[in-house]
Symmetry: C2
Subunit: 334 residues, 2 copies
DNA sequence: CCAGGCAAGGCAAACGTTTGCCCCCGCTTG
DNA sequence: CAAGCGGGGGCAAACGTTTGCCTTGCCTGG
């Protein structure tokens, strides 16, 4: 149980006061060149590393080098990519990341939000659980920098990074229509999530533009989980006049829909076409390869972390909101 | 920038000393019932939450409620599942998890190991970068509890949770042989990783058991990344006497091999069979569905976290090492 | 020659806990 | 009646930093 060297040890060795050591480390205050030399040497000799905990305790609200990231579920590849983006830029600036999964559970979100504050993180990145998230607003009021990703908050005037969900859905469904599909089933997301709503809006607008009627019986809404994709696809494909193609609003539900299609022995794209939101790991080698809307998840995380770092440096800077473009990847499933 | 209530505030409100408050919270020391009541009420009224940073600073080596998890890459679904397992049991015990990706990069691993110690985490879970990992050994010597997952350390006498890689590979290749394959290509992992070695050993033992010769030209070794899976599959399938089936030693490389197979227009399983280590998201709905060796990733994380929590409570307890069984999921690709 | 200024660096408080030590008081025991 | 004891709770140090303020000595301008 060897203890790390502390400021005191370094100070003793360099024959200066601890404040001098602190100041040479942080480049704050006036210290003579020769003294700095001595201090630096002592640090090197002792292998000194500043204690992050003590630093955070003292220096409330700056330079604690810890970022919080709260996401629904790391098992969702979209969020894994996003997390990776965050971590990479954090690492480059010597920040570490406290990662939590809240599972769309408000109690859990609240718990983790508390943890983040009690850990005095420098800032938090998260997709709010819904558009009016009082817990998040509270955190913001406390003065902790927050950046929203993927989903956004109605109020609060926060930095945010989103994907243009409307555009992505619009392009996808336009393409489906261009392929000759007239009855397109929608497997949408929850109506109270901004992503769910926007994608549905894209689906509808594509129909409107093409002068196609919207049929309620072709529009179903799930919870972004695989199970609901399967169930809803079965419902749609079991209709007496089933859709000739399916537009599925996220990756997990797409996997579910694919299950249903396989179970019914339907051939893609001949008997049923499918386009899903989110790139999937095996999509390219799937048989047939899957046409998807790829979200730039990594970039979302990267941009969010960059924004957060900037805000930590300058809390007065005007808030910026980024909208990244998804990409329709044309393959063979529709 | 409203500050949280502190011990001092609670003490003032309950008209007691801060030590009394601390002791009622931690159930340490003798405090009268009525005093406890007063303190508890004051805490409730002020919405007091103990400051985790201060607590960690003071109480070195216990109850700081933070676990460290260092993994190669969260984008690898195996580690995402594992991370989720860790987080779920951590959450249940009010622990938070500091997650870092080290990308098989020793400098990065070292950096994060430092961070963990400087953050005074209660314990660390990680797959060591290789079997003799001096940085990890150093951390152990410093007195921080460590649990190895997936891979293990040659020395150190640590708690660990692994998957029976040898068994998994053995069963898979046995099955391939039972299907009539006599020339089975191996796309293996790095020779200096325990997982890579064990799986290769399983491949070899299956051949030995069946009295089949090992052909060097059929055994290739990659780095567990998709790219190398593709390249090596191309090499193997381009042989003048190519293998009739491929055994691929992790998920990412399996995806790569599938790319190569698709590029060559080969039909699975008629022209080439394939079995991969790791379950893949779309494996079940793939055409044909993929036969894989499923690793219980979530359980590995779960067990590791449980072991770590136990060790944090009692540092003297004998070390235990778990070996979880993988499962051969028979589908149609071989 | 002196006041004022500036560079260099020391002193000590503060961040919010935990914890060893001590004190007080009332009761038991011999 | 004195000594001992134990329950209840206060005091203050300590964890390792950062930082406001102060001191010192030297230099410069008037």
């Amino acid at each position: 149980m060897k203890k790390n060297a502390s400021l005191v040890d370094v100070a003793r060795r360099a024959k200066v006061n601890i404040s001098t050591v602190s100041r040479t480390i942080n480049q704050t205050g006036k210290i003579g060149m020769d003294t700095q030399e001595r201090v630096l040497r002592a640090m090197r000799e002792l292998g000194y590393k500043p204690n992050r905990v003590a630093r955070r305790l003292r220096a409330r609200g700056s330079s604690s080098f810890l970022l919080g990231l709260i996401i629904p579920n790391i098992q969702n590849i979209f969020f894994a990519d996003l997390a990776r983006g965050v971590e990479d830029v954090a690492y480059r600036s010597n920040y570490a990341v406290l990662l939590c999964n809240y599972d769309e559970d408000e109690a859990k979100e609240r718990f983790y939000l508390d943890v983040m504050q009690l850990e005095s993180v420098d800032g938090i990145i998260l997709p709010p659980i819904h558009e009016e998230d009082p817990a998040v607003l509270q955190v913001v009021r406390n003065g902790t920098p927050v950046v929203c990703v993927d989903r956004s908050l109605a109020r609060g005037g926060l930095d945010k990074v989103e994907v243009d969900n409307h555009l992505g859905a619009l392009r996808a469904v336009e393409h489906m229509i261009a392929q000759g599909h007239r009855r397109i089933g929608l497997i949408g997301g929850p109506a109270d999530s901004s992503t769910g709503k926007e994608r549905t809006r894209g689906y509808k607008d594509a129909h409107l533009q093409a002068g196609l009627p919207l049929k309620t019986e072709l529009m179903r809404f799930g919870d972004f989980k695989q199970e609901s994709g399967r169930t809803l696809a079965h419902e749609l494909l079991g209709l007496t006049d089933p859709p000739s193609a399916l537009f599925v609003c996220n990756g997990l539900m797409t996997a579910g829909a694919l299950e249903a299609i396989a179970a019914r022995g339907l051939k893609i794209p001949r008997q049923v076409g499918i386009v899903g939101f989110d790139e999937l790991p095996l999509a390219e080698v799937f048989n047939p390869p899957l046409t998807v809307v790829r979200q730039p998840a990594y970039e979302v995380g990267k941009c969010a972390a960059e924004l957060l770092l900037k805000r930590i440096e300058d809390r007065q800077r005007p808030t910026t909101s980024l909208k990244l473009h998804p990409e329709l990847i044309l393959r063979k499933s529709c």
